[in-house]
């Protein structure tokens, strides 16, 4: 039966392709990108199949080598991990399709290492999500991180420095997480999440449990760019090559957010999380500050990728705020936002990449209405994604905001409600600014030049992924009731 081996197969796909890409790439570098598309395509199909079989038969626990935990290591394919796996692999698939041209222009000759590293990063991300073992998670975390550092370093001139800063902060975060795991291990003597979750309530009052919780939240918070640990993110996203950003931005922080979900809901449980210090309130408040900070900083940016990076800080805040609400609506809202934000941000970063390739920059102040003539479809999809980011119905972004708002109301947490609403307005400010530039005459600009602008739409390999992602926003918007219905069932409490 293939279902029972699915968790391992998904991870193995990436291992296989991480080896195949260099092997074929040495022979002929042009094979790298198609192989990456193929690899992530297979992984997406497997994740889709896995999620379908999860819906029918329930969770899959895969014991490596047949060793049952706590002795062996297991992969857990339950609703939460299945959902995340599906989202990240599908988004990665579309990003790889788009990378074809960018790879040739932004880092010619480095396609093979780039795509091999991307496979490794995805292996790390998938492993983090699937694994049921805390130390195993650390290893996957470092695999994905090391690959991400390298991916970010492939980019413009300051990219290595941005990557180095990310490396220092990220490794420190990972080490703190490992220390937290060590504390928990000394108390419970196990590393398996399910096993440990059963034992932890006996040690609720133990200081080292609290210390471990704080260390793990801080460590993962760095990876999730939870305010105020977001410092590495804007530079990394801005200076990295467009394809790296488009790959890491929608996926990387989401996976870290997933670890927070695992820790808070599955490992400790909300009760234990809040037993000694009001951890969920603290996380939620940090997220709320991050939401506003990210939005305000995004308004101040003139470079599109940098603006989107700050916007990511703000959007990750939504997800973590939903987590901190610890009720079904907040949980479903946060997970729906994981999906929405992955799709929207991937679409926006891909468009930023397309513009960089065509125009050589993505400076918002230089956008004008020739763009509308040159790239009618790209700009139309940009508008769709932007409007979804602002959260206007019937696009997907509206509904995650709706459930999050209902979640805050359910907790009677009016401040968080206000934060969500104000942030939507701030989003509107920085997205409509671009739409204004693109869709309206620029009086300062030479009108003749504008009139002469000819249609110069991006090629199919770049148009296809952005179109699919933008149309997906409509589909998610209309089908959100079904998705949220599943997410309600996933809610562990």
């Amino acid at each position: 039966m293939i279902e029972s081996h699915l968790p391992a197969l998904i991870a193995l796909t990436f291992v296989l392709f991480a080896i195949m890409i260099p092997a074929f790439g040495l022979w002929r570098p042009s094979t790298s990108q198609p192989l990456a598309v193929l690899g992530s395509g297979i992984a997406s199909v497997l994740s889709l199949y896995g999620f379908a079989s999860y819906l029918q038969t329930g969770s899959i626990r895969y014991f490596f080598g047949g060793w049952e935990p706590p002795v062996g290591i297991e992969f857990v394919y339950d609703g939460l991990s299945g959902f995340f796996i599906l989202v990240i692999n599908t988004v990665a698939f579309f990003v790889f399709i788009h990378s074809r041209k960018i790879a040739r222009t932004e880092y010619p000759g480095k396609e093979m290492p780039y795509f091999a590293l991307a496979m490794l990063a995805l292996l790390g991300f998938n492993g983090m999500i699937l694994t049921g073992d805390l130390f195993n998670l650390y290893v996957f975390l470092e695999i994905s991180s090391l690959a991400s550092y390298a991916l970010i370093a492939i980019g413009s001139r300051p990219a290595p420095y941005a990557a180095f800063r990310y490396l220092i902060i990220g490794t420190a975060g990972g080490t703190l997480y490992l220390l937290g795991v060590g504390f928990l291990y000394t108390i419970t003597g196990t590393l398996n999440i399910i096993d440990m979750a059963a034992m932890l309530p006996n040690f609720a009052a133990d200081t080292s449990v609290v210390a471990a919780l704080i260390l793990m939240v801080v460590g993962i918070g760095v990876k999730a760019a939870l305010f105020p640990m977001h410092g590495w993110l804007p530079d990394s996203y801005t200076y990295a090559s467009s394809s790296s950003t488009a790959l890491i931005a929608p996926i990387g922080t989401k996976v870290a957010a997933y670890i927070l979900f695992r820790i808070v809901f599955y490992l400790f449980g909300v009760e234990l999380t809040d037993a000694v210090i009001p951890m969920t309130t603290i996380i939620g408040s940090l997220a709320a500050v991050g939401i506003l900070y990210g939005s305000i900083m995004a308004i101040a940016q003139t470079e599109m990728k940098r603006m989107l990076a700050y916007s990511s800080v703000s959007q990750i805040g939504y997800i973590i705020m939903g987590l901190s609400l610890a009720n079904p609506l907040g949980f479903a809202g946060a997970l729906l936002h994981v999906l929405n934000h992955a799709v929207m941000k991937a679409c926006l970063f891909l468009i930023a990449g397309s513009l960089r390739m065509k125009e050589g920059h993505s400076d918002i102040s230089l956008f004008d209405d020739t763009y509308r003539k040159k790239y009618p479809w790209t700009m139309a999809w940009f508008s769709v994604a932007a409007i979804s980011m602002v959260g206007l119905p019937p696009l997907a972004g509206f509904f995650s905001k709706w459930y999050l708002a209902l979640g805050t109301i359910d907790n009677e947490n009016w401040i968080f409600l206000a934060v969500i609403l104000i942030s939507s307005l701030l989003n509107a400010v920085y997205f409509f600014r671009i739409l204004e530039n693109v869709y309206m005459m620029n009086p300062k600009k030479d009108q003749k030049e504008a009139a002469d602008a000819e249609r110069n739409e991006v090629s199919f390999s770049m148009m296809f992924p952005t179109s699919v992602l933008a149309i997906a926003l409509f589909v998610i918007g209309f089908a959100n009731a079904a998705i949220v219905g599943i997410l309600f069932d996933v809610f562990p409490m």
Binding site: F135, Y161, A163, F164, I168, T171, L178, L179, G182, Y185
Partner: protein
């Protein structure tokens, strides 16, 4: 009080190392020194794991004919050590990536001083 300090001396050692590492990461301006701080930081956690596995009157987890297998208390816990083997490998890989990045930075900017780099990039 003194017992508390002396009884946990291994942990205090770890804590001091951790702080030294953190100091290096946060306050050193030279990127190589930062990297050294990071390495110390990681090593402190590795040492913590190693120390929790040790106990008095126990031996290495290799089967000894004199100690029956049932007396598990007389063997060390092998798991933290094996975990740390992996963690050390991860740490080395991280350092490798870090030094690669440092070389790239040095080739591009000719300096590894954070202040000068920030000025260059602005």
């Amino acid at each position: 009080m003194l017992d508390f300090f002396l009884g946990h001396y291994a942990y205090w050692f770890v804590v001091i190392l951790l702080c030294v590492g953190l100091y290096g990461i946060l306050f050193k301006k030279n990127l190589v020194k930062k990297t050294i701080g990071l390495a110390i930081f990681q090593v402190s956690v590795v040492l913590y794991f190693v120390s929790i596995a040790s106990k008095w009157d126990a031996t290495v987890p290799v089967r000894d004919a004199n100690i029956p297998v049932e007396q598990v208390a007389n063997y060390l816990n092998p798991l933290p050590h094996t975990l740390m083997l992996t963690a050390i490998v991860v740490g080395v890989a991280t350092l490798g990536v870090a030094f690669t990045l440092l070389m790239a930075i040095y080739n591009r900017y000719g300096t590894l001083d954070e202040q000068e780099l920030l000025e260059e990039i602005q």
